[in-house]
């Protein structure tokens, strides 16, 4: 995941993790299509954020936000079914901000309250950080995780 985040920096990267019984076995990289999702962005983000996004080029937009490509998500979910694994977590990177959910993340990711949301920060390029959260009802709760 950190490699994926570095590969796409300074843009935000995103993806999904799947597995069984809380143990991740499958990793899917998903395209960040925030630049092409004008309508969706308006429905999900708050006014201030929209104004900022509107003033940016599509390249710049991908630096501060992400929107998973639904075609990629659909394909990933199909693969999960074929392998009898479940969606366990989403992840995305914060190229220049800390590894904690932003207000937009807390609003937008609340659509998926039952999975973990991992945020990777490249703020310190020598020491990338990753934290996992559960996001529901406007709050984010840190979740412990183990790297196997």
């Amino acid at each position: 995941m950190i490699a994926h985040a570095r590969e796409l920096a300074p843009h935000e990267c995103c993806g999904m993790l799947a597995g069984k019984d809380g143990r991740v076995t499958h990793h899917y990289k998903i395209k960040n299509v925030v630049a092409t999702k004008e309508e969706g962005v308006k429905a999900l983000f708050d006014e201030a954020k929209i104004t900022t996004l509107e003033q940016m080029t599509s390249e710049e937009r991908a630096d501060i936000a992400f929107w998973m490509d639904t075609k990629d998500m659909f394909a990933a979910q199909k693969d999960m079914r074929a392998n009898s694994v479940e969606l366990l977590a989403s992840y995305h990177s914060h190229p220049i901000s800390p590894a904690r959910p932003s207000p937009t993340d807390i609003k937008a990711l609340a659509l998926y309250p039952d999975i973990c949301h991992i945020i990777i920060s490249l703020q310190d390029p020598k020491a990338p950080a990753a934290n996992a959260f559960r996001i529901a009802n406007g709050t984010a709760t840190p979740v412990p995780y183990h790297i196997l």
């Binding site: 501060i64 936000a65 075609k71 979910q77 989403s90 937009t104």
Partner: protein, 95 residues
């Protein structure tokens, strides 16, 4: 009957089921029919005007219904419909 794949966040409404079935002739009727079986499901998929929410994607077999006829896309027995809510977010700059 149309087979409907329910995403993780909506399974609380379907008693944990990831696949359900409903009779319908188009997507709109399908949503109504699902809402009859699983009350509250329509609210999660449609806005108060009955339009499909922008951050909810619906696939008929392999196609996004936005590129077909939207909620008026016809469905038939044996079709597979998938509901895929968006995963999106942003960082703290300007948020």
């Amino acid at each position: 009957m149309v087979k409907v794949r329910i995403p993780t966040p909506l399974r609380t409404l379907t008693g944990g089921k990831s696949e359900v079935e409903a009779p319908a002739s188009d997507i709109q009727a399908l949503i109504e029919s699902l809402n009859g079986q699983f009350p509250g499901l329509k609210d999660r998929v449609c806005d108060d005007k009955g339009e499909i929410r922008r951050f909810v994607n619906i696939y008929l077999n392999e196609e996004d219904i936005r590129f077909l006829k939207g909620k008026h896309t016809p469905v038939k027995d044996g079709d597979e419909v998938s509901i895929v809510p968006a995963i999106a977010g942003g960082c703290e700059q300007g948020a």
